[in-house]
Symmetry: C2
Subunit: 136 residues, 2 copies
Amino acid sequence: AQIALERGYEAQREFDSRYRLLLATVTDAIMLVSLGDGRVTDLNDHAADLFEMARKDIVGTVLASHFENIRRSEMESKLVNAALTDGAEPIVLTTARGAARLRLVPSVFRVGGDRVVICRLTPNEQTAATSADGFA
Amino acid sequence: AQIALERGYEAQREFDSRYRLLLATVTDAIMLVSLGDGRVTDLNDHAADLFEMARKDIVGTVLASHFENIRRSEMESKLVNAALTDGAEPIVLTTARGAARLRLVPSVFRVGGDRVVICRLTPNEQTAATSADGFA
């Protein structure tokens, strides 16, 4: 059992290394969120840049708190609906800091007892063309 | 020990799920290669598309075999040099099938006893402008 245990840890470190390096390598802005408590469990620097914050200051915080006019429960239902609906409209939200319009593309997966959302974030480039708020 | 073992497996599945979903989510073309034997251990569909092959037909094959005029040993030294040199020129190679010019950006990391390379692949868009081979 001890040997199997050590093998288990080894394999775990292996998967963790691959995951970490992949997250750091990709050019996409990626964020992972636990649906259990609505908190950001992980993200890469590209994602942090979109919030004009350091990565370490976002990990562990509630995702909804980084956007204007959205509560945790509303964020959760938006993420789940978009992730589970084929051809759903992307979620477009405005960041609390910097007031940037971001587009979120979520997928939901189950990890142990929790549901985790992986989000790809992109600047919403249609903002200037479609906004009627006078900032263009 | 049995409980610790089960926790170990659980954590392992968790890391594996995150890795798998991340690989499937990103828009980058990503490939993992073992330096021990030069074989592709994993890749996503975006990467397979660049080789005009199915993902499953690339996993387990020798990376060098998918490019023109390069041997396994030469591929290994190119990957290691590029990964370990700051500001190195990207590796540009021509695919054996489709004769597409691809640019490889590798990082090397150590997993257990093996060294693994994670490669981001992009079409080499300067080909037409800089090639003097008459195909433009």
